[in-house]
Symmetry: C2
Subunit: 201 residues, 2 copies
Amino acid sequence: MLNSVSPTSPSPVPARRVRLSQDDRRRQLLGIGLRMLVERPIQDLSVDAVAAEAGISRTLLFHYFPTKNDFHEAVVDAACRRILRNTSPDAEAAGPEAVGQFVTRYLEQVDRRRDFYLALVFGSSPVSFGLERVETLRATMARRVMAAGELPEDAFPVVHAWTAYVEDRALRWSALPHGTRPPLADEADQCQRALRALLAA
Amino acid sequence: MLNSVSPTSPSPVPARRVRLSQDDRRRQLLGIGLRMLVERPIQDLSVDAVAAEAGISRTLLFHYFPTKNDFHEAVVDAACRRILRNTSPDAEAAGPEAVGQFVTRYLEQVDRRRDFYLALVFGSSPVSFGLERVETLRATMARRVMAAGELPEDAFPVVHAWTAYVEDRALRWSALPHGTRPPLADEADQCQRALRALLAA
């Protein structure tokens, strides 16, 4: 039924439309876009499919995101925030416990969404991170580890580069079939030992 | 004068055309493409501009590279090979000397062509590396270091991830203005100490 809504006409108005505030509608559209980004090849993020799934017209979607590119950028920003949220240590954790939580959650995140992560970071699609978002991701993760370890400012280049080390390990580890790869806890432990070794070097 | 050659007509034939073998012509076109890739924003790699500079028609260029995409792919492959060639240690070097040469040349390469390197590795342009070439680059560099250090096979994940660590350091280091950043030799030394620390961790 939703698919019968004309993509260029704002009416008929589906029931859900009037119930959502502007913020909720925006969040809903980004949520649908994110899910599509995870489920399909990353370049296939169609504004029409998102509008149809939200039960709104293409015109109304363009009210929230003036161009297709604006929508793509907003979805990729949301993907970046989601990765950071999913890999954040608990608010009450500190020290090695917080670093361990971050590493474990990061490995789990890459393992769960490996193709998605690869397409975002190393993809040549217009819907990929690009350097600025990769830098946001690494710098935010490095700052968390700096805070958890109460590390001095001059450790930042080491911790930042360590996030790249962990990313590379995570991508190789998650490419191995289950059963042939080290357990998550061992891989996480390797990453934490690497950090300690790099800080001491 | 070369610019007056019609982009769709194979004649008039510039003098240089008849002198080049097929292989030489191919190399010439890739060389021009590479230079343009270095000098301009990476998405501006125009087949017409390359043909004009080679003094040949667009039609003849498409004889060597059937589509614009084929040409782009070939140029980006050539960029990948060039980075590997520029960062290769001397054939007669071995052990820590070879690792030191690789690290120093890699830092010099990124420093000399930082924007180019960034666009290739993290760019969202169709003319960027994508995961497979990034993997080729890292795996080839890691294999060189493995061979130089005569390291056991199970060190490969560590050395591979260390190349990502070195890349991140190189990008941050080369972003600092001269005068405010550590000398090349110190940065290279940091990278080598990081490798030893990671291998011992």
